[in-house]
């Protein structure tokens, strides 16, 4: 079929995007143009098909059952995670209890000169010995790991 320059406006016309004036001009043209009438019919056929709402059938109960399963699984994985974290915590404490006395006897500061790293911190906390500064840094790291774990737990719970 031959084309018509007004056929470009059919989409805008169907989407109500023409001004009142443009709409009136197009409708007047439509009455006498077979090409545009045909194009309009095709557009309406497409529109008619795509505007149809399709029915998935009765899925309500299946969704609720799957939702309950998913929630139960999430709660279970939360407690599994909590249990795992508790095991890590206990292990870390035991390892620390073994390591700390060893460190007390052979502080890392005697092997590595931590004084230059801890001088800034020592300035803030008073004149701490390098070994004490090491304990403070170690403690901060431990607390950071603890809070990171707690934060992860709350995220999973949510």
């Amino acid at each position: 079929m031959n084309s018509c320059q007004h056929a470009e406006k059919i989409v805008d016309y169907r989407l109500n995007q023409l001004t009142e004036e443009e709409k009136a001009v197009f409708e007047a043209h439509l009455k006498s143009c077979e090409i545009c009438q045909h194009e309009l019919q095709v557009e309406m056929a497409i529109e008619n098909e795509l505007s149809a709402e399709l029915d998935p059938g009765f899925i309500e109960n299946r969704i609720k059952a799957r939702l309950q399963l998913r929630q139960a699984r999430d709660v279970r994985s939360f407690w599994l995670y909590a249990f795992r974290m508790a095991v890590y915590g206990v292990t870390a404490t035991i390892v620390s209890m073994i390591l700390l006395p060893v460190l007390l006897k052979f502080p890392l500061s005697s092997v590595l000169d931590l004084s230059k790293y801890s001088s800034g911190l020592a300035g803030l906390l008073g004149q701490l010995a390098p070994f004490n500064a090491f304990v403070v840094i170690f403690g901060f790291c431990y607390i950071a790991v603890f809070f990171a774990s707690m934060y992860t737990l709350t995220q999973i719970r949510r």
Partner: protein, 185 residues
């Protein structure tokens, strides 16, 4: 319109508190919209049923995030879109819908109507994911332009331009099928 929104607002509130009847009601109201979007995107009846269920599960697991009933529908459509995207990321394939599937879905014994639907679905399948989503949301009567813009994360003016282009592309893919499209009109 406002009373319907208020109803949906109450249902959302009750669903948040775990009211199963409210959940059922919300599913019944919106399942057609979600399923239509997903089926137009995937072209697979059984996959669409499954992804519709997945969408509602995600909706109810995150329903606390909905602050305003007005935003519920676009938010749900966005979840449906993301669920479909995840699915495509996994399967990496597009399929064309069969004559039998369309017949089963619409329950039409009229061969001409079924054929028309197959032609349109096949033409839709040739469009990009964005174009298909745009056309599905725009043609669907229950969504305003503002809601479509919210789902697509575009401005309303941009939506108008893109819809215009998408419709033209769809029309191009349907060239030569005019007789079939008009056969039952």
């Amino acid at each position: 319109m406002e009373s319907r929104l208020a109803d949906v607002g109450h249902l959302i509130q009750s669903a948040r508190d775990g009211d199963e009847r409210a959940m059922t009601e919300l599913i019944t109201i919106h399942k057609g919209l979600v399923f239509t979007i997903i089926l137009r995107m995937t072209n697979d009846y059984h996959t669409s049923q499954d992804l519709t269920q997945e969408t509602f599960i995600k909706v109810f697991m995150n329903i606390r995030k909905v602050k305003n009933a007005e935003h519920f529908k676009p938010w749900m459509c966005t979840i449906a879109r993301n669920v479909v995207r995840d699915y495509f990321r996994k399967v990496k394939r597009k399929r064309t819908v069969s004559f039998e599937e369309i017949k089963e879905l619409h329950g039409h014994s009229n061969i001409e109507i079924t054929r028309k639907r197959v032609i349109i679905q096949d033409a839709m399948a040739k469009l990009s994911e964005k174009d298909r989503m745009l056309l599905t949301l725009t043609y669907y009567q229950g969504l305003s332009l503002g809601e479509v813009a919210r789902v697509m994360k575009m401005s309303e003016n941009n939506i108008k331009v893109c819809v215009h282009r998408a419709r033209k592309r769809l029309r191009k893919y349907l060239e030569g099928y005019e007789h079939e499209l008009l056969s039952t009109c």
